[in-house]
């Protein structure tokens, strides 16, 4: 630390960040949000079709849902070791907000309950309220408190990789698909 103190340059001011735009057109935000998420291979589902999707997903599948109106087959209360989530096929969670410029959706431990859940599940559904859409990451960080819980994550698509000859492959380690229900 002494070395840093003697070697650091003279004072440089911390810049102030630009303010958010004053008026926001929610339809414009939704259009951008849908467009950028579709480009990252995310699909959209109308909220009224969600129950049908879950029903058709498969009777023998392990499903986790934090939506009161839509029960899963696995109760998170019974989980005390994250390894017990290894067999989860489908997870349905709320996201706190969505970012129009890049499709990122914020989940804290309040929404995901177990940190590994949105990563270990084979397929993920996120429920986003239209009213929570913000234009940019600047606005998003003003809206959330990153240390409200011990862990929080922005999710902007299904897990992916392009490490083999730049070929895009969906489903690297995390979810093989991401569905967003915008309501």
């Amino acid at each position: 630390m002494e070395g840093i103190r003697s070697n650091k340059p003279g004072p440089r001011p911390l810049p102030t960040l630009p303010p958010d735009p004053l008026s926001l057109d929610i339809d414009e935000l939704e259009r951008a949000f849908r467009e950028v998420l579709s480009a990252s291979k995310t699909t959209f589902l109308e909220p009224e079709k969600l129950a049908g999707y879950v029903r058709d997903f498969g009777a023998d599948k392990t499903i986790v849902s934090t939506l009161p109106e839509l029960g899963g087959t696995l109760d998170l209360v019974t989980i005390d070791d994250p390894l017990q989530l290894a067999g989860v096929d489908l997870t349905i969670l709320h996201a706190r907000l969505g970012v129009a410029e890049n499709g990122a959706m914020w989940l804290s431990e309040t929404e995901m309950v177990h940190r590994v859940l949105p990563f270990i599940t084979q397929h993920l559904v996120l429920i986003v309220d239209r009213a929570t859409l913000v234009p940019t990451m600047h606005a998003a960080y003003r809206r959330i408190d990153i240390c409200e819980t011990g862990f929080g994550v922005f999710v902007a698509g299904p897990s992916k990789t392009a490490d083999i000859e730049q070929s895009l492959v969906i489903g690297a380690h995390g979810p093989r698909s991401l569905i967003v229900c915008l309501r």
């Binding site: 840093i4 070697n7 810049p15 990563f119 819980t149 994550v153 999710v155 730049q166 492959v169």
Partner: protein
């Protein structure tokens, strides 16, 4: 000891492969250009990123202290390491205390720099790199050739053969989808069996005492959320002042790196999981010394996006391994001479000084200007190769004497047109190995000017 030029020459022996490598990287650079086109305020955003990082460097001590204090209050155990050896000992100490014999690790250039894998393996710990590209090169026993795309130098057929040998995939299969699925199954078993997870750190927030890790695959999260012990390793320069600054850097990073508007996962870790332990190891390893070098301290602003590599005409046509340093490309060439001038000084010459690296850098590091300055340091310290010093002595003698310059120019114009080719292009002229002189003009510019321009009355 080989030089960058010699290692690049080996890479260039396979012409079609060099072209393929060149095009792959340029494709990523083009994607970057496409994604920033949608951000009209891009240049202002770069300036903000640069200004915040300048402020970080000028307050590095206080931000690090603030980070430690907040992180400790969050229940995180913070460690300080002055060099690679101490870093490795600290990490192994944590693992030994928990009797951990197998770990999973996500991408971390810092642990590459410290050669952590080798150290832990010598202590009997199994280390599995979980980023697909990193796992591929780990199986091949190779270092990464790029900081964002570690296996960018490999063709899918080579990866197919590797997986056939090590993971039992079908012989001759090279479909990326099929190979990625095989790696997913292989690595999922490793995630479930690991007793500790290690990650690098993209940003550490002083205000909140938390760290941020960005991935596309989700491998960092699979590792640290399943294992009871999580360890995050960071260089001292990763700290940023406040949470709101993440808005600037997350906007810059993904677009500059791969042309994505943001990485798929941007994970914010502040407290250990219930019943778990969270460690952050903060490493100096030469960074404080670099901070003291006025001409070169800006290199510490780097956010490791790799944009300077993707755009560099030398990197694209010589490959990451030719740099023989953990961080290759233009940014590696200004970071490494400070660590070992004798070994890495020649990297300052692995550049055309075209400035494209500085143009794309999201935090406006003057990379090409620093390359030029390192050349002067290399020369002053006497590390220039004879093939450079002798011609430079000659050039200096000629250029400082007007008469001699005029005579030599005239002599060369005559001589180059009549002497046999072997007199000019031979083993004493490394410049001519892959370059051709332009056609020799009949007269110099000075002669042409004197002949055609009549003086004003």
């Amino acid at each position: 000891m080989t030089t960058h030029a010699q290692r690049a020459a080996t890479f260039l022996e396979d012409g079609p492969r060099t072209d393929w490598h060149d095009k792959s990287l340029w494709h990523v650079r083009s994607k970057r250009d496409g994604s920033i086109a949608g951000i009209p305020e891009w240049e202002a955003l770069r300036q903000l990123g640069s200004d915040i990082k300048d402020n970080v460097l000028s307050n590095l001590d206080t931000y690090l202290e603030e980070f430690e204090q907040r992180a400790t209050a969050n229940g995180v155990i913070v460690h300080w390491a002055k060099d690679a050896e101490e870093h490795n000992r600290i990490v192994h100490g944590i693992l030994a205390r928990h009797r951990v014999d197998r770990i999973v690790k996500s991408k971390s250039m810092l642990t590459e720099e410290c050669h952590l894998n080798q150290y832990l393996e010598e202590q009997g710990v199994e280390v599995i790199d979980t980023d697909l590209g990193e796992r591929i090169i780990q199986m091949r026993n190779e270092p990464p050739s790029h900081i964002v795309m570690p296996a960018i130098h490999l063709k899918k057929e080579e990866i197919g053969q590797l997986f056939h040998e090590q993971l039992g995939t079908d012989e001759g299969a090279s479909d990326p989808q099929y190979l990625t699925e095989a790696a997913r199954q292989h690595l999922r078993a490793k995630f479930l069996a690991a007793k500790a997870g290690i990650t690098g750190v993209n940003f550490a927030v002083a205000e909140t005492g938390g760290i941020v890790v960005c991935t596309n695959e989700g491998n960092a999260d699979m590792g640290v959320h399943l294992a009871p012990v999580q360890i995050h390793c960071m260089g001292i320069e990763k700290v940023i002042p406040r949470a709101e600054h993440l808005g600037v850097f997350t906007r810059l990073l993904g677009r500059s790196a791969t042309g994505q508007p943001i990485t798929i996962y941007t994970s914010h870790h502040h407290k250990p999981k219930p019943g778990g332990e969270m460690h952050v190891v903060i490493v100096d390893n030469g960074r404080t010394e670099q901070l003291g070098r006025e001409d070169f301290r800006n290199s510490l602003k780097c956010i490791r996006c790799g944009a300077c590599m993707n755009t560099c005409p030398i990197y694209r046509r010589s490959g990451g391994h030719s740099y023989d340093h953990t961080i290759p490309g233009p940014i590696g060439s200004i970071l490494s001479p400070g660590l070992d001038l004798k070994k890495h000084g020649d990297l300052a010459f692995a550049s055309t000084l075209c400035g494209s690296c500085s143009d794309v850098c999201p935090v406006k590091i003057d990379i090409h200007a620093q390359l030029y300055k390192w050349r002067q340091v290399v020369s002053e310290e006497g590390h220039l190769a004879k093939s450079k010093t002798i011609p430079l002595l000659g050039a200096g003698a000629v250029l400082s004497r007007g008469g001699l310059y005029n005579f030599m120019g005239k002599a060369a114009r005559t001589a180059l047109n009549i002497v046999p080719r072997a007199v000019v292009y031979n083993r004493f002229n490394p410049w001519g190995e892959s370059r051709e002189l332009p056609e020799v003009p009949k007269e110099s510019f000075k002669e042409w000017y004197a002949r055609t321009q009549t003086p004003e009355a």
